[in-house]
């Protein structure tokens, strides 16, 4: 590059561009925060949902599953599992509860976490709430 | 006239006529807007006017006409591509 290209201009571009776009990002974040209550239905976050999220985290469910498409790709998407299981909390709870301790020969299996019934309910409540988030029509179909 | 004075002379050109032309074109667009007209010919007219206006700014205001062709071609080529794609998109929606 030529002498017409000065380092100080390149530097100004970097600092100016970084600040400019970060401010824009912060502005958009404010707008998003304003819009989110309409889409996440936070009024439905009961203590059970919150407890369910904590259980979700403390058992590292994201290490195999995706939730709204984010996570590991080893096991099915769970953002819409409540709908996939026919909007049936009991079915979800029964599935988690029935996982064999020693796995299934030659196949992937979810571990047995030995949850109490209350904990199972919390998790199901969390997944139910998650399925009601307005995720712009994602996933494309029920299979997630 | 030395090379430098020619350049100085060119820089001195205040572009007042270009400015007036740009103002006139803008008012024309406003008139079109006020009538609320649409359709193929109006869209074509507006796209051409955008092309003319931006090219005037690039050539005379920015002064790319005084610069080696390649720099000007980047801008002109860009304008041409964007405008024709816009035209294409509108043609798709009109038909």
């Amino acid at each position: 590059m030529s002498e017409n290209f000065t380092k100080s201009m390149a530097r100004n571009m970097f600092y100016g561009g970084a600040v400019f776009f970060f401010l824009l990002f912060v502005g958009l974040t404010f707008d998003t925060m304003r819009e989110l209550p309409k889409r996440d239905h936070r009024e439905n976050i009961t203590p059970e949902v919150a407890q369910g999220k904590l259980l979700w985290e403390e058992n590292d469910c994201i290490g195999c599953h995706t939730l709204l498409g984010e996570g590991a790709y080893f096991a099915p998407e769970l953002g819409n599992v409540y709908t996939r299981f026919g909007k049936n909390k009991q079915a979800i709870m029964a599935f988690i509860k029935s996982r064999p301790v020693d796995g299934i020969e030659g196949r992937r299996s979810m571990p047995q976490f030995n949850f109490s019934d209350e904990q199972l309910n919390d998790i199901a409540e969390f997944l139910k709430w998650t399925s009601e988030i307005n995720s712009a029509g994602w996933p494309p179909n029920i299979q997630g | 006239m030395t090379q430098n004075t020619v350049k100085t002379f060119l820089y001195l050109r205040p572009c007042t006529w270009d400015w007036l032309l740009l103002m006139a074109l803008t008012l024309m667009i406003l008139m079109v807007a006020e009538t609320g007209l649409g359709g193929r010919y109006i869209v074509g007219l507006l796209i051409v006017s955008m092309l003319v206006k931006t090219q005037i700014v690039a050539d005379y205001f920015m002064g790319l006409k005084r610069v080696r062709l390649r720099w000007r071609l980047i801008v002109s080529g860009y304008l041409l591509v964007v405008m024709s794609m816009i035209g294409l998109a509108y043609k798709l929606s009109l038909s």
Binding site: M1, F5, T6, K7, A10, R11, M13, F14, G17, A18, F21, F22, F25, L28, D31, T32, E35, L36, R39, D40, R42, I45, K53, L54, E57, E58, N59, D60, C61, I62, G63, C64, L67, L68, G69, E70, A72, Y73, F74, A75, P76, D102, G103, I104, E105, G106, R107, R108, S109, Q112, F113, T130, I133, N134, A136, G137, W138, P139, P140, Q143 | -
Partner: protein, 458 residues
């Protein structure tokens, strides 16, 4: 090596490489679990293996960045490191904390680890890549602050260069954006929104600043091109990185409950994200072609060119492939994401750290470059690992395309597990390519122990 204190980089690099080996072994375990579902079950379930795989990657890259900074900053600032003792103390703290965390993952169930470390007090665990116990996270912050202090003091007392200021901004940003990992609200959407402030603004923001400055440093050293020229390029590249990358965060805000305008903004700005990577590739080749000296360390130049090309392919091309919202609607959360992640991380960050190690290690061992024989062995390692990562990416891309087609499209989509069974072949091929990677890694390690008489003296 011009300054004694640069030597503190050595243990950092050794630790980084050891963890790299661990990362690859757990990668192979996971790859096998993809095809033999009950492999090591229930002793090491997939989620634990994955956690070890990704967390080791993050930690060893951090070790690599720190080592690179400790090596590069004294030389750039033309002064000894502010406190080599602090650097060594932080090394041991970080290493012990890192190893304990990994042992914790493997020794007890994750829920038990959460209980032991008091996750209930300040729950931050169990989110992808941020699985570390809260106490480890606090440790990371302390280590990062101590490290930044040490580097900052060194820069302040010596010569200020563009490379060190960009590096400092990158490292400072790394520390600042990590703080968002402590924010974990009950609302999943908010949690995810700010989780990306750590994850995206790291890997597609401030880490690229670190990458750029390390690359610029190595290029100045091996090509002898005028510093002014390289620094100008560096500024322009990182300016484009942040201009496109900050709003580019929007490509993660398509389907997580955030407003739909992010589909427009995220698509547009992330479509521009390949530009800085392209510029980086052009820049690296340009500088090497204009070189004013023939540096004896050929393999460091190879790594530098490699990182420029592979980061463009992995982050630029493979990222662009599925970044537009209408495409991402079908590809979000499939093996395509995994394909992109593998090549981008290897191309951008693994290779830049290996590049720095390749340049600095011979210096720290008292020679300008390794013997020709050792360099040839290292080049074998380079090609084996690089080709294998290309293959892994291609196989995962194949798996991903089939997955999208069978699971997401058509009138009768199949369920996740059915589709997984149908694409097993691709997972076997990926695992085979992974074995090649391990062989490449072993070859790379072997190059450190190859002697030779032709070794040039420092």
């Amino acid at each position: 090596m011009q300054y004694q204190s640069q030597a503190v980089a050595k243990p950092y690099f050794i630790a980084a490489l050891a963890m790299f080996a661990g990362q690859i072994i757990f990668g192979l375990i996971m790859g096998l679990q993809y095809v033999i579902g009950d492999f090591l079950f229930p002793e090491i379930p997939f989620n634990v293996a994955r956690m070890v795989h990704t967390n080791l990657l993050i930690v060893w890259l951090l070790f690599g960045f720190m080592g690179a900074a400790y090596y590069l900053v004294p030389e750039e600032s033309e002064t000894e490191l502010f406190s080599p003792k602090l650097a060594m103390a932080l090394f041991w703290i970080f290493l012990v904390a890192g190893v304990l965390t990994i042992v914790g993952y493997l020794a007890v169930p994750y829920a038990t680890l959460a209980k032991i470390t008091g996750n209930d007090i300040l729950p931050t665990m169990g989110r992808e890549f941020l699985e570390q116990p809260t106490i480890t996270k606090i440790g990371i912050v302390i280590v990062a602050l101590g490290f930044l202090f040490n580097i900052l003091m060194t820069v302040l007392k010596g010569r200020k260069t563009v490379i060190t200021s960009v590096l400092l901004i990158g490292l400072g940003g790394l520390a600042v954006f990590f703080l968002f990992s402590f924010y974990n609200p009950d609302n999943l959407v908010l949690d995810k929104y700010f989780w990306w402030w750590t994850v995206h603004l790291w890997v597609e923001g401030v880490w690229e600043l670190i990458l750029g400055s390390i690359l610029a440093f190595v290029l100045i050293k091996v090509t002898g091109v005028d510093r002014e020229v390289i620094e100008k390029w560096l500024y322009v590249i990182i300016a484009m990185t942040l201009i496109t990358g900050i709003i580019g965060t929007g490509h993660h805000y398509f389907w997580i409950g955030t407003p739909e305008y992010w589909q427009v903004l995220g698509s547009i700005f992330s479509a521009l994200e390949p530009i800085p990577f392209f510029m980086m590739a052009v820049f690296a080749f340009n500088m090497v072609n204009r070189r004013r000296r023939e540096h004896p360390n050929k393999v460091a130049t190879l790594w530098a060119l490699g990182t420029a090309v592979m980061s463009f392919l992995g982050a630029g091309v493979w990222g662009f492939m599925h970044t537009l919202a209408p495409v991402n609607y079908y590809t979000h959360g499939t093996q395509l994401t995994a394909a992109h992640a593998h090549m981008a991380f290897y191309g951008a960050y693994v290779m830049i750290v290996l590049c720095m190690i390749s340049y600095a290690m011979p210096m720290m061992r008292g020679r300008a470059a390794n013997s020709a024989k050792a360099q040839v062995v290292e080049m074998w390692g380079f090609w084996l690992m690089t080709i294998s990562i290309v293959l892994i990416t291609l196989f995962l891309t194949g798996a991903g395309i089939l997955q999208v087609y069978m699971q997401r499209m058509g009138d009768a989509p199949m369920s996740f597990m059915v589709v997984q069974d149908k694409i097993t072949l691709f997972y076997w091929l990926r695992e085979a390519a992974g074995v090649v990677f391990l062989i490449g890694l072993i070859t790379y390690f072997a190059s450190f122990f190859v002697g030779g008489d032709e070794a040039a003296s420092a």
